[in-house]
């Protein structure tokens, strides 16, 4: 089909999930092209020669890489159910928090779950500060996007179920209700959205998958 939409993805990736959630929010039909990251397809290497990573969105034969770039493209191409706000200042804020999550939160949250001992304590402490900062963006709002899910909510989707599963496995609790009431409420509200329920990977499958990964020494 001329305007076929394909998402090169892996089922357990929170990055390709962002793309799928955005497309689902807009009611856009798409085909999933599952990748084996240990044996990348020639198509993936053709469509993302610079980074050789998922996700890649292919629309009408044209490839786009990098999840935040893809989200903006999706919003500009399919206008229903906008992901970004209309007002330029609010758009700037949404972009600010999305890049904050990617640049300052993801890695430290991951490391807090996979490291041990003193290093883990340091990571937990730092991750805690970043989450505290992130929480300020939720002040007075149900979702980061306001009354409905938006750009930042999609980017933060990593918190559920991925971070929940990882915390359980590492036997740590980063997102305690008493310390992060807004973020914890956000997790519940986000998780109860139909579109999220219908698109997210099954928790049990993620538990089984993460159990096969060895924690770094």
């Amino acid at each position: 089909m001329a305007d076929e939409v394909v998402v090169f993805r892996v089922w357990d990736s929170p990055f390709s999930y962002r793309v799928e959630l955005a497309l689902a929010l807009k009611g856009v039909n798409f085909r999933r092209a599952e990748e084996d990251l240990k044996n990348k397809s020639s198509e993936l290497l053709l469509y993302n020669p610079v980074h050789k990573k998922i996700p890649v969105l292919l629309h009408a034969g044209k490839p786009i890489a990098e999840s935040l770039v893809i989200l903006e493209y999706i919003d500009e191409t399919w206008k229903q159910n906008p992901i970004l706000p209309v007002d330029p200042y609010e758009r700037a804020n949404a972009r600010f928090w999305a890049t904050y999550v990617d640049d300052k939160c993801l890695e430290i949250l991951w490391r807090a779950c996979w490291t041990r001992g003193e290093e883990q304590q340091k990571c937990i402490s730092e991750a805690g500060e970043r989450l505290r900062t992130l929480e300020t963006a939720l002040e007075g709002k149900k979702f980061f996007g306001g009354d409905t899910i938006g750009f930042v909510d999609i980017v933060v989707s990593f918190l559920t179920p991925w971070m929940e599963v990882l915390q359980e496995m590492a036997r740590i609790r980063l997102l305690e209700e008493e310390n992060y009431p807004r973020l914890c409420r956000w997790v519940r509200d986000f998780s109860s959205c139909d579109v999220v329920k219908e698109t997210r990977p099954p928790r049990e499958k993620l538990v089984a998958f993460f159990a096969t990964l060895k924690p770094p020494n």
Partner: protein, 232 residues
């Protein structure tokens, strides 16, 4: 000239990121006040307006602070819409411009910066190879994005021109300090010609630091960084 809507840029002369905000405002013909940041120590204004990163540039418009240079450039483009569009009109072209801007900031520039901190010839050779591989990609991107025009943006200076062009003074400083010709006219003819064109642009001339002044600043900064890292 657009009427003053209380537009200010908090920044410093040597920062490529601050340059981006100023070039964008210049292209839009927006008057603004430039507030020179004290840096050491950081001003109250900076700490209050950018509490998360505590970094320049900060754009102030109607009393609101906007942070992060590429976010600022997009804000400027989306606010002053009747003059000189900065991002391309087509969503796919916009995506490609955003992709390469992210590549420059997240992948290429961090690599180039490693050169001055490298201690051995071997380390320098690795950095040089990666630097040139990146420039080759950008030379090709210029042709794809520019579609035969003088700019990454085609017929007019655009987002990706600003993203890469803001680094030119620092690239020239790195070339002088390292003896490495990064923008080699033989290997990368399009980019080399583009670089001269960029620096000659009205919107750029007044905010591009002089190479010698920047060289002096860079030498002092690198000496400080090396002293700090060897003191650890």
């Amino acid at each position: 000239m657009a009427e003053s809507e209380d537009v200010k840029v908090l920044g410093a002369w040597m920062s490529p990121f601050v340059m981006r905000a100023r070039i964008a405002l210049n292209l839009k013909k927006v008057d603004y006040e430039f507030i020179a940041e004290t840096m050491h120590p950081k001003s109250e204004l900076l700490l209050k307006s950018n509490p998360v990163y505590k970094k320049i540039p900060v754009l102030f418009h109607k009393g609101n602070p906007i942070c992060e240079s590429l976010i600022i450039v997009q804000y400027i483009d989306e606010t002053w819409t009747s003059v000189h569009p900065i991002l391309p009109a087509d969503p796919y072209d916009r995506a490609i411009a955003r992709f390469w801007a992210a590549y420059i900031d997240d992948t290429w520039n961090p690599e180039v910066r490693k050169y001055s901190m490298a201690n051995t010839d071997e380390e320098r050779a690795v950095v040089a190879e990666k630097t040139f591989a990146g420039v080759q990609l950008l030379e090709e991107a210029f042709q794809t994005c520019g579609k035969g025009g003088n700019w990454f943006g085609g017929d007019a200076l655009g987002y990706l021109d600003i993203a890469l062009g803001s680094y030119l003074a620092w690239i020239r400083v790195t070339e002088k300090m390292s003896g490495l010709k990064i923008l080699d006219g033989d290997k990368f003819p399009q980019l080399t010609a583009w670089a001269d064109r960029f620096c000659a642009e009205e919107a750029v001339k007044g905010v591009m630091p002089e190479t010698d002044k920047l060289l002096e600043f860079a030498a002092a900064m690198i000496a400080r960084m090396k002293a700090a890292s060897s003191a650890k």
